[in-house]
């Protein structure tokens, strides 16, 4: 074989109202084949109502070695969570 078919990442929406979620990857020569192959590989039991395919080389990912620094700004902001606020027990529906 001269050239391996490009890799595509597959995202599936399992039903209307839910997000597309990463399912895995497949090989295909073009976008249409990628969708058809994704259908055959990842939705043999009606697992999806919509498919996204993206060439894997187009995905830009954060570097796990830098994740400490990258996510550091949120680490000490516990006041962003509702449980940070000390309220009386008799207070309802809040």
């Amino acid at each position: 074989m001269k050239k391996e078919w490009p890799v595509w990442e597959v995202f599936i929406r399992s039903k209307a109202g839910l997000d597309h979620r990463h399912a895995g990857s497949i090989h295909a020569t073009d976008a249409r084949m990628a969708i058809e192959n994704a259908r055959d590989v990842y939705t043999r039991r009606q697992e999806g109502v919509s498919i996204w395919v993206v060439p894997s080389k187009e995905i830009v990912a954060s570097d796990p070695d830098q994740s400490g620094e990258l996510f550091e700004p949120a680490v000490d902001k516990i006041y962003r969570h509702p449980t940070f606020y000390d309220l009386p027990d008799e207070l309802k529906h809040m």
Partner: protein, 315 residues
Amino acid sequence: MQLNTEDLEREFQAKIDSGRSIEPKDWMPEKYRKTHIRQISQHAHSEIVGMLPEGNWITRAPSLKRKVTLLAKVQDEGGHGLYLYSAAETLGITRDELYEQLHSGKAKYSSIFNYPAVTWADMGAVGWLVDGAAIMNQVMLTRTSFGPYARAMVRICKEESFHQRQGFEIMLTLCQGTEVQKRMAQDALNRWWWPSLMMFGPKDEESTHTEQAMKWRIKLKTNDELRQQFVDQTIPQIKILGLEVPDKDLKWNESRGSYDFGAINWEEFWNVVAGNGPCNKERLEARKSAFENGAWVRDAAMAYAEKKEALKEAV
């Protein structure tokens, strides 16, 4: 701060010990990467080689129902192979390299598929016993430490249960049929029982990889533990079928709460692993010829896509 390898390894082990998963872009010891490429690809190869003995029976299935079922099962196995190849590729090896390792014999696949499927009852025994044994291993692997492998296993386990049930149903139908059909079922059980027990791999004391595999949470149970679990689970099923277990040493051990079973013929196991099973050559030849004879189709599809892309850019 630059960490040295020793620190990185300690951090890596701590991560695994605390139950966290390892993802493809995380730092990992080279040996962890290599072990996973070996294991995941071996698993993927087993799925696609596993299509062959059953594919052989699609055109000869005894009814339309059995035919569509078998077709769906074989398609699932193709799908499972693809989930696993895609998990292996996240570790930086290409699909062609993986195929090349299978074709050259560098990579192995499950030896069980080197046994022939000679009667229709074999389709029952394979689904029930071979898929049953595989499920036991795969359920364990849904909790393995490498994220893409564990996720592929979750997907596979969901689909695999149908494989085992349809196999058992084939056996049950034969066992409720004529005397000849029941004999056919017993014969299939006799031939597949021991190779199924061998599927769990060598005895613990002879399994070279077990210790490291447990430490890295690649495995959560030993070969012998899984094998015992399989025997204990399957004996009552054999009774439901009204068949005989082809093991004269099998007996219930009250104190262990498990069945004791006879000695496995390890010489046969190693002989099949070494390539001398009844179908090793045939299976590998089938995979190689599918790959080679399909090359022109893959090349043509790629050339067509590139040409279309070039035209689009020219406009």
